[in-house]
């Protein structure tokens, strides 16, 4: 039971990662050259997944698009962890103080702005782009990690090994970094995987409505947006980018579940 999701998840995620990395050195076709004579090619020997309305190779675009998705989601998770984890540790170290209250209320505030609304505000003022998508998703990730870290760290502050460290004269900063952080790494890794998958979905949504990566950078969301007007003409255009998203998100979710079971057997739930 325990390894049932880890392996398939890891394989799916690895496939997507490899496709993205491979696209730096090789793609079946160049994604910037147009080949109008071969537009709307069906999946076959020449174009494995077909070609779009400008004759571009779908598989090549998916491979390059994977870079965009992964980069945006990964940096957004980085922002969320980089800001959220220190805030959470600080809140736990000063539990129930005004600082703790301030940090947690600030978190509630960010929860009031769904990532899409943050993106809309940023875009309305600064214009659309991949960087703004990263910021929007990243801001939304901060309270997730802050809460998780605070909760995890709070439960550890009364444990014997932390008391021992205090008796040994360590300050709360050193205790947080040397004793608490290593003990909540598992939690963070698992949540990181989940936020990564949510980030992929959010990036796809944002670029679908035109708030994400701009042309000519290929992105899965925009491929879907472009396919929409052609849906009765060439349904395969709408099929593959969506499958790529599902594959990546499914893989990450399975990986997250599997990692949780593997890293912390105590958390293992009877499923």
């Amino acid at each position: 039971m325990k390894m049932r999701s880890l392996l398939p998840g890891a394989i799916l995620v690895l496939l997507v990662l490899l496709a993205a990395l491979l696209s730096y050195v090789w793609t079946p076709y160049d994604v910037t050259t147009l080949d109008i004579r071969n537009k709307f090619a069906l999946p076959g020997a020449e174009h494995w997944l077909g070609s779009d309305h400008l004759g571009r190779d779908i598989l090549s675009m998916l491979m390059v698009g994977a870079r965009t998705s992964i980069a945006v989601a990964l940096v957004a998770v980085g922002i969320g962890m980089g800001v959220g984890v220190p805030l959470g540790l600080l809140a736990a170290a000063r539990a129930h103080s005004w600082l703790d209250e301030l940090i947690m209320r600030g978190n509630d505030l960010v929860f009031a702005f769904p990532a899409l609304l943050i993106a809309i505000m940023i875009t309305a003022v600064f214009g659309p782009g991949a960087i703004n998508a990263i910021i929007a998703i990243g801001i939304f990730n901060i309270p997730v990690f802050a809460r998780l870290t605070r909760g995890g760290a709070m439960s550890l502050w009364n444990r014997e090994f932390v008391l021992a460290a205090r008796v040994a004269g360590k300050g709360s900063l050193r205790i947080s970094l040397e004793h608490l952080l290593p003990n909540i790494t598992n939690l963070l890794v698992v949540q990181g995987t989940i936020q990564f998958s949510l980030g992929i979905l959010a990036e796809a949504g944002l670029s679908y409505v035109g708030l994400g990566a701009q042309p000519p950078i290929p992105s899965w969301g925009r491929m879907l947006a472009e396919s929409q007007t052609l849906i009765s003409l060439a349904p395969h255009l709408a099929l593959f980018p969506g499958l790529a998203i599902v594959m990546t998100v499914l893989g990450l979710n399975l990986l997250g579940d599997g990692l949780r079971d593997w890293l912390d057997p105590r958390l293992r739930r009877e499923r």
Binding site: H96, F111, A112, M121, A124, A204, V209, I245, N253
Partner: protein, 316 residues
């Protein structure tokens, strides 16, 4: 209960106050001069000056904020620069699509998730449980706008049961209106239903292992009676939390889904306004959506207190 209510209302107001400050700062202060931003680079200086005057930009920031917020409270959301109509009227028209859509989706996801979650939990490990869990894993991974495209492909293009987009209008009848919202609501509801099913299932499983469930069975209740009378009510807290959170996802998701189906709701309004750089509309609609999210969180908190009286006590 009164003390609890008071605390929650105070925190609701504080959140709204700070949120409105953030929206105001991002949209009106960060761009520098909103008037020249809205008009673009080729605007005549006197046109910019006229708009500056119209927007009241010659006033100080704090004065403008107070004007804006007192106006919002009284239902005056300002005037759209592009359409020359009050934003409140535009919002009211669009709300009649966005709100029913969100509620329709919430209804569908609840109707799907509750029976599925309860069934899966009470037949744990069985074929149905495994199938339900597999489907929910897939449902979570499917982006709702892609699911929407697939629905359009099959039910609108192939079968012709629904139109591929647009809104019939409520004046053509309730059924016609609901029909044009059906595909959008299904595509919004599916991923939410998947999440809700999982939460319902795992929350019920936790409760089913409790001592009081054994007691309920021991005093002679059937498994079904014990489940419905005792387990469900106790399993509702996490489920309510997720339903509250989902409302904000339904609002955000609705913005995208409205674009897939060309529904003239708040989402379309926001994107049109961004394209036309109509900051007044963007500002007010964003604030309205934030208000909706915060209000729902507040109502969910009240619902907790109703379901679980222990939560009415101050926490520490």
């Amino acid at each position: 209960m009164l003390h609890f209510l008071f605390r929650r209302i105070a925190s609701l107001l504080a959140t709204l106050l700070v949120a409105s400050l953030i929206v105001f700062l991002v949209i009106e202060v960060v761009p520098g001069d909103p008037a020249s931003y809205m008009l673009g680079m080729n605007a005549q200086p006197d046109t910019v000056a006229a708009l500056r005057n119209e927007l009241g930009l010659d006033q100080t920031g704090p004065a403008r904020y107070i004007d804006w917020i007192t106006g919002m409270v009284q239902g005056d959301f300002g005037q759209s620069y592009t359409y020359r109509t009050p934003v409140a009227d535009m919002v009211a028209d669009r709300l009649w699509i966005s709100l029913p859509l969100a509620l329709y989706a919430l209804f569908l996801s609840t109707v799907l998730a509750f029976p599925a979650g309860i069934w899966a939990a009470s037949h744990r490990g069985g074929v149905v449980d495994t199938a339900v869990m597999g489907f929910t894993q897939l449902g979570i991974a499917v982006p709702n706008f892609w699911f929407a495209l697939l629905l359009v492909m099959y039910f609108a293009v192939n079968l012709g049961w629904f139109s591929a987009g647009g809104f019939a209008g409520w004046d053509t009848g309730l059924l016609a209106g609901l029909k044009s919202l059906t595909l959008p609501a299904i595509s919004l509801a599916l991923p939410q239903a998947a999440i809700l099913t999982r939460v319902m299932r795992s929350s019920l499983l936790d409760v089913l292992g409790e001592d009081f469930m054994r007691t309920a069975r021991a005093k002679g209740l059937s498994a079904r009676q014990a489940l419905l009378r005792h387990a469900l009510r106790n399993a509702m807290i996490p489920v309510l939390t997720i339903m509250g959170l989902q409302f904000s996802f339904l609002i955000a998701g609705g913005i995208i889904i409205e674009n897939v189906f060309f529904l003239p709701g708040l989402g379309r309004l926001i994107f049109q306004s961004i394209a036309q750089r109509d900051l007044i509309v963007v500002e007010s609609v964003v604030m309205l959506l934030v208000f909706a999210v915060v209000l729902v969180t507040f109502l969910v908190d009240l619902a907790y207190a109703w379901v679980d009286p222990r939560l009415r006590q101050p926490r520490r």
